[in-house]
Symmetry: C2
Subunit: 385 residues, 2 copies
Amino acid sequence: MNLTNASVGLVAPEIYRHEAPFVLQCGVTLPSYELVYETYGTLNNEATNAILICHALSGHHHAAGVHTEEDVKPGWWDSCIGPGKPIDTNLYFVVSLNNIGGCHGSTGPRSKNPKTGQAYGPEFPTVLVRDWVATQAHLADHLGIRQFAAIVGGSLGGMQAMQWAIDFPDRIRTAIVIASAAKLSAQNIAFNEIARQAITSDPNFFAGRYAENESNPDQGLMLARMIGHVTYLSDDGMREKFGRELKSGNPQKGDDVEFQVESYLHHQGRSFSQVFDANTYVLMTKALDFYDPASEHNNDLATVLKDVSARFLVVSFTSDWRFSVERSQEIVNALVAAGKNVATAIIESEHGHDSFLLPIPRYFDVLNAYLGHLYEELDPKVSSS
Amino acid sequence: MNLTNASVGLVAPEIYRHEAPFVLQCGVTLPSYELVYETYGTLNNEATNAILICHALSGHHHAAGVHTEEDVKPGWWDSCIGPGKPIDTNLYFVVSLNNIGGCHGSTGPRSKNPKTGQAYGPEFPTVLVRDWVATQAHLADHLGIRQFAAIVGGSLGGMQAMQWAIDFPDRIRTAIVIASAAKLSAQNIAFNEIARQAITSDPNFFAGRYAENESNPDQGLMLARMIGHVTYLSDDGMREKFGRELKSGNPQKGDDVEFQVESYLHHQGRSFSQVFDANTYVLMTKALDFYDPASEHNNDLATVLKDVSARFLVVSFTSDWRFSVERSQEIVNALVAAGKNVATAIIESEHGHDSFLLPIPRYFDVLNAYLGHLYEELDPKVSSS
């Protein structure tokens, strides 16, 4: 495989309309729903070469390529998905969607509630990882994909890949779980709750009815994003990137000082608050907090995984302290205890949780090798050549 | 020394009034100022047995004992200060103050600005660690203490102890620097800035004029404290204390769920917002961010410490990730490079930055031994017996 900077080029989102009622885990029924998704590459005749990309907290369907020729910013995982890239669109048919509850086109808090004729807003029901997996299976049916060659996700996306292996053992060949966990720690829940508090206590939140009040909790979203950013980086990574460099002012003189790291976070927070929906942020962080497949099995993850038939690749990063190497090793240990096929890679990186989005050579080598071998199994022409 | 649960008992705060003008590092002059302080134990005739306690971000003068017989909550370091305790009031005369800029009785944002007749509020000038050290020296003069046997502080308090050794080499015999750093990292500055943003963006902050508006930025202070709490604990410590225990609701049913860790943080945040002053919080976090004695010496801390004559004890805790062992080792390395006398202890603890406030046996043994040996030097009767 030749790793180049080639891109999938121009892509256009599509919509899947699920016209039948869908009962969520919480008991609420969506009378119908829509998923916005993109695909890259070509599905082979046997429909065996599909890879599903599951997005994380603030992700969406636009993972690769550009929407217009003038588009300066490609999809969020363009470094990894494309011709000759680790998720190679010359070999694979890649599906990337926005999950329900999201704010990028799929049915979510910004969608109209058919019961009231108004936007759902804060009344959008609680969505769990299992619900996402079920809707992704509907999308697979729609696309004629009986079994995914791989389902890949980082962070919250990794939880979806794992849940696929549990809920649809015969529909997933390999699960690639990156910088994820089988459940959040108290510290992670605490950071998510602080972010939610920042949003919901913003007076412009209006109990989630900001749109009707022609308002937006910009400040709360900005704070939530700043907390996310700091905790997704590592202490060392931030030291290298920002140090104690000043943007303005002299601290020894009592000036109004701004450190570079502050300036960066302000900018990131403000940009995010202009594009992301606050109700979606609250909903997505709760899905993260609530994920805990072992909770109904005496906290024994190996029991939950006993009927899994997918192979697993579990990847973690040394400086990731929100989804640490130890959390990934818990998944590996449970798979081993359940007698499953699992490979694992611990990647040296100083970029914290953000590492899973970065083109770190050894990380990409691992994905490339794993998916290359997988492809040989799928395509008899390759393996016999 | 006999470690018991004995207390210094009933104590009463006193006020030191500095009637002369005091020029702050930022150039602003306070026409006068007041310090509220407490003392425990007895100053010996030679005034050689005094220990100064420097408080951290949210600390104050009330470090030991109780204010009334009914007082259920003793001072913030009562576990460490008292008869037979590591900072032994049978041997030492202990001085503990609230720094200027504080909100517990010393001149600060809640004090009246003589120029305007109104509270300083947000116009209280920038205060740096050096300013605190200078005012503490005035207090020492007032108390007849030429040289402290020891100056002890954790976190921001440790910066004050270090700065004493730099600014007044002949007035400090030993500096005990606990869970501190010679400068904050970008990550630490980022967390402080998020806390400040939470406070200053609260609409009840009124640009720092909340008191005049009969208001208080409760929500912002609550968020700031929640961020502090989470980052002062460790992931492992929180797992042990809270795990994923639920306070209410079933996450699998879409209930309004509260995890124990959330309930705890809400409670801590609300309590704090009722007692702490928002302008003080902003001011104190800036003093933390701005501390960097090496910045004017080519970032060479050893050069800054070259005229220090105090001995140092530098203590850090294994799970403290905001003031990590590495930051303490930077101080130790600079002292070694400068040819100074330094002892260091790295204490195993899973309680994160909060460890410095906890009665961890090895930590207290180290303090006890160090201060015990120090006392023998001070008191010829002891060393010859």
